[in-house]
Symmetry: C2
Amino acid sequence: MKKKTIITISRQFGSGGREIGKKLAEQLNIPFYDKELIEIAAKESGMDKELFEEEGTRTSRGFHLLGALGYSLGGPLSTMTELSLNDRLFIVQSEVVKQVADQGACVIVGRCADYVLNDRDDVLHVFIHADMEDRKERAIHSYEVDERDIESSVRKIDKRRSNYYEYYTDRKWGAADNYDISINTSTFGIDRSVAIIKDVIENKEL
Amino acid sequence: MKKKTIITISRQFGSGGREIGKKLAEQLNIPFYDKELIEIAAKESGMDKELFEEEGTRTSRGFHLLGALGYSLGGPLSTMTELSLNDRLFIVQSEVVKQVADQGACVIVGRCADYVLNDRDDVLHVFIHADMEDRKERAIHSYEVDERDIESSVRKIDKRRSNYYEYYTDRKWGAADNYDISINTSTFGIDRSVAIIKDVIENKEL
């Protein structure tokens, strides 16, 4: 296989995907992008940073259909005045994802990066998931989500990610076949999951 | 994690999942079950082997709902007279899956084994998938599927597997979070996929 130097991580809420991405980037000594992408997107577009912070909710029939209407990710912002704010945010963010990928090896968490970078063959696409009990635990301890109705909160955040992903990509979020490898952190733990990903990209000649 | 000695493999048609299972069993020197399970199920139940060969099609509202009606996988065949033939075949087959798992380390391909053995913590559940182009290629060369309408044939077989799985398990076929690890053989190839699975079960202390 072609050497994979860029790693995208999609993840269920509370699965440890972000932590895996961070550790992986540290161990491989390459840049890590999650919220950092927002800073760049805000700076480049002149749009308010806070607008990017909450991944948008679906507001129209399906962004992926816009291609048929003549819009393209590569178009200048000035042609996007008819698009919704969320759609413009997505376009700006996607351009930033492509830019950082052009700069070389890195780890990118979220932002539909698996879809945005789908055409490149130097990217490994990873999905991280975990059993609900572990996700609830992590949500309480790492993200300080309220313990009351914790399962429903976790499911709601997943639902938002799933809606966002499916709106912009027309793919099924969490379907194994969007990714090169999917890993359950309840089975392997965080460190072993990092090791598995490192192993699969480093054994590039096999 | 608990040592994983039993491996279940679910797979998209044409992804190479069966070949991976076979190689894995050879390299680990443990039994391999695919069609072999049918022989055992036919022998034990006295039912015709040919009946088991085509994984059934959906005939009622959802097999997983039968539990609520008092049926259980553990019940004797004599109590199953009200069930459809397909449901009885599934029950017999599931019992055989449990039996071979009780006998120790093995590789089991298909048969909803990931669902049937869900309660055991010594089982690694794997999903194997691949890009459509590679699956078409494998379907033509390994399974002698007619080249005309090959993509539609591949999708039809997947659809049958997916219907069967979802009818009997009430889970989404191919959703990453049913499995411990999911691997794209278009990215890694067959031998590297075998090596990844061996690696994740052998590094059991991490």
